[in-house]
Amino acid sequence: MSSPLLAVSELTKRYRRGGQTIAAVDGISFHIEPAETLALAGPSGSGKSTIARLLLRLIEPDAGHIEFEGGDFLSLNGAALRARRARLQMVFQDPLAAFNPRATVARVLGDPLRVHGIASRRERPRRIAALLERVGLSADLATRAIHEISGGQRQRIAIARAIATKPSLVVLDEAVSALDVSVRGQILQLLLDLQREERIAYLFISHDLGVISAIAHRIAILDAGRIAESGDARAVIDAPQSAIGKALVAATPKLTRTSMHDAS
């Protein structure tokens, strides 16, 4: 039996709040296969971002295991962890907050190339131009400051930065929620193209079932730190079984049932 790309088991994270302990993530298990998109849906405060931050080792879990590319991801530390990060990347919700306010586009894209020794200083401008082109932007953008470009361009830059190190898994935490509807469609199409061509798997976090139905193969619906139900994305969204699943579907206006997977 081949092992999955990512296998999470019994992951738990508790926070103390006012003398009381709450489990933001409460014994969650799931897995992701190569080139697959798993959506994490759930209302605000259900623990979606906490899972993302646990996977990226931005915070440490209280219990559980994370196996990534066949190795124990939680046992890595220091230089070994930093090296492994090349394969597991993240795109944040607010593309403005996710970049150093003083940075230029070239620096934002050059940093991962430099940190992981992917391109020498001389090669870097060419690699940066190629990355920009890869996400549908002009290479001229490289010299611009991050705060000078539009929100949609910024999120494309964030995606370019995430794929710069050729990751096998990218975690996207509400990555399209802050964007205009028209821009959102383009970004989703870009993600689908990248997945098809580079076999990247996504953990796609969103509270929007409309967006999820357009991009995800499977879905897990979270409620208060636990998985309420999971399964094939279309099947779950068409006929949710859990109370929270039904509530989410009811809250989504005119849910388009046609997936972008069919269109492409």
């Binding site: 996710a98 150093n100 940190v115």
Partner: protein, 276 residues
């Protein structure tokens, strides 16, 4: 309105800037206008000001040219003030960034050290340091910086504590950047503005401390200093008060100029930041 015009629209700031420009002009031209040793005998002793147009501010007890001493003293005051403030800001920014970014034990230890330095009055610290190591320009600079870095360290730490929670720092970790690079290349530059806002106060205090050390005879003996001139004049305070008054006025004007111009800069940039 651009910041320069706003700066020029503030009378206090303009006054401060004019004083500073005059001071820098004195410091820079001192070796040209008054070449040679400013401590050499230049005329009769205790010549009052405005008697001889070649010695416009007169001479001191030993017949040294007070004008030349004043110009050369400006060099010492500015050099020590700027160097000590720069050293204090660098030390403070580095310590504050390390403490705030690393957290835990590192933060605890660094902040206890900062507390310790802050508890000792900075002038006593400088006094003790110079007495032990011996007076020279470098030692005086180090002694003053030693008592001045704690303010910048606290401000930098507070700023870093809020910046390190921001997404762009998480993003830097995600791409595998080394923590030291994150601290000094991503976080520190964004924490600098409020730290730099302290510079005028620190420069002004450093100039005063240097003068006080020199007054007590703990300045560099090979350089003319305003503090040293005031101390010199003290012996003949009744008969020749101008010997203490002239460098005293220079000192007060300098501190005032640094402070006013510094406040003007902070004010105009703060307005710009709140507008953007």
């Amino acid at each position: 309105m651009n910041p320069l015009r706003r700066f020029l629209g503030t009378p206090e700031a303009v006054a401060g800037a004019i004083i500073l420009i005059a001071l820098f002009a004195m410091a820079l031209t001192a070796p040209l206008i008054f070449p040679g040793d400013p401590q050499a005998i230049a005329g009769p002793a205790l010549l009052p000001p405005f008697q001889d147009w070649l010695l416009p501010l007169g001479t001191d007890r030993l017949g040294r040219d007070v004008t030349a001493e004043l110009f050369h003293g400006a060099r010492t005051s500015l050099a020590v003030g700027l160097a000590a403030a720069a050293a204090a800001l660098v030390i403070g920014a580095v310590v504050g960034t390390l403490a705030g970014f690393a957290g835990g034990l590192v933060d605890e230890v660094l902040m206890r050290v900062t507390d310790a330095f802050q508890t000792v009055p900075s002038f006593l610290l400088a006094l003790a340091f110079v007495s032990i190591v011996g007076p020279s320009l470098g030692v005086v600079v180090a002694a003053i910086a030693l008592g001045a870095w704690t303010g910048p360290a606290r401000v930098a730490r507070a700023e870093v504590l809020s910046i390190r929670e921001r997404d762009f720092v998480a993003s830097a970790r995600v791409i595998g950047m080394h923590p030291l690079e994150i601290a000094f290349r991503e976080v520190l530059p964004n924490a600098l503005p409020p730290v730099l806002a302290l510079s005028s106060v620190i420069v002004a205090a450093a100039i005063l401390t240097e003068a006080a050390l020199s007054f007590l005879g703990l300045g560099d003996p090979n350089r003319v200093t305003w503090g040293g001139m005031i101390a010199e004049g003290r012996a003949v305070l009744r008969t020749a008060p101008f010997l203490s008054i002239v460098p005293g006025i220079a000192l007060v004007l300098t501190v005032l100029g640094v402070y006013l111009a510094g406040e003007g800069v902070v004010e105009t940039t703060a307005v710009r930041r709140s507008l953007s």
